[in-house]
Symmetry: C2
Subunit: 153 residues, 2 copies
């Protein structure tokens, strides 16, 4: 990507929601779960996220286009001598940017931010069907040490 | 357990920390990670948790003894139409209470509380070596659909 316009990372704003929701929906699992034609629930959620100092929803911008996003949550806890951990959710890369190294840059941003905030641990879960993603996280130093359980309400 | 004293659930306080930390340490994985002789880091963490409206650290009490604990975190998000999910961490049952059904009661409490707060999803990760715990969560309706990745900082 030598010569490609620089990437910047900044907090997501309401104006970014069409681009973010389009990325959430452009995914084998997300396609059935999102509503790009109705942004109201996303705007309400972004307001909750922006008001919470433990939440960081970030967008990656290249040449004034939103090309990636993730959510980083800081979770204080008692275990491990009162350690704070961070949780990465909602990682999405625009289709045009896949293979560009942007995923690595986004995760590295999240890890560095977690370190700055004093986290002892960064964690995430990835759907068992996303085997490419699993290799990606292992290359970045993550260990697939846990089983992730979900219960839909 | 017919005839056993009633269980109650209430928010954890600083006075509960010796009992909570003893339970965190009385565990094959926790034994090397906790410091029951130095409660100061736990007290600082509990203060952060108590001040955060998205955090619930609960203790289960039977006959005035703390016999179980878990942490429930509410995490707003953009994906799934702006759904809030909850995350269960730090589930511990006193050795004397294992097999009593307390684990089920604690998780049911967390699920019910998540429902009351409007969560769409409850999730947790369990170390891959804790196979008994995996069967327990599956019996409670959770699906082992994800791989949990961790990166120590």
């Amino acid at each position: 990507m030598t010569g490609a316009p620089e990437l910047t990372f900044r907090p997501a704003t309401e104006a970014d929601l069409p681009d973010i929701v389009a990325m959430l929906a452009d995914d084998p699992l997300g396609a059935t779960r999102e509503s790009p034609d109705d942004l109201a629930p996303y705007a309400a959620a972004l307001k909750r996220l922006t008001e919470d100092p433990h939440q960081h929803v970030v967008v990656a911008v290249r040449a004034e286009r939103v090309v990636g996003t993730l959510q980083l949550t800081m979770v204080p806890g008692l275990s491990r001598k009162g350690a704070t951990r961070s949780i990465i959710e909602g990682v999405r890369i625009h289709a045009d940017e896949r293979g560009s190294g942007l995923g690595t840059r986004l995760i590295e941003w999240a890890v560095e931010r977690s370190r700055q905030e004093g986290c002892a641990l960064v964690q995430l879960t990835s759907d068992a069907t996303r085997t490419d993603a699993h290799r990606f996280y292992e290359r970045l130093g993550f260990t697939a040490s846990h089983v992730g359980f979900k219960l839909q309400l």
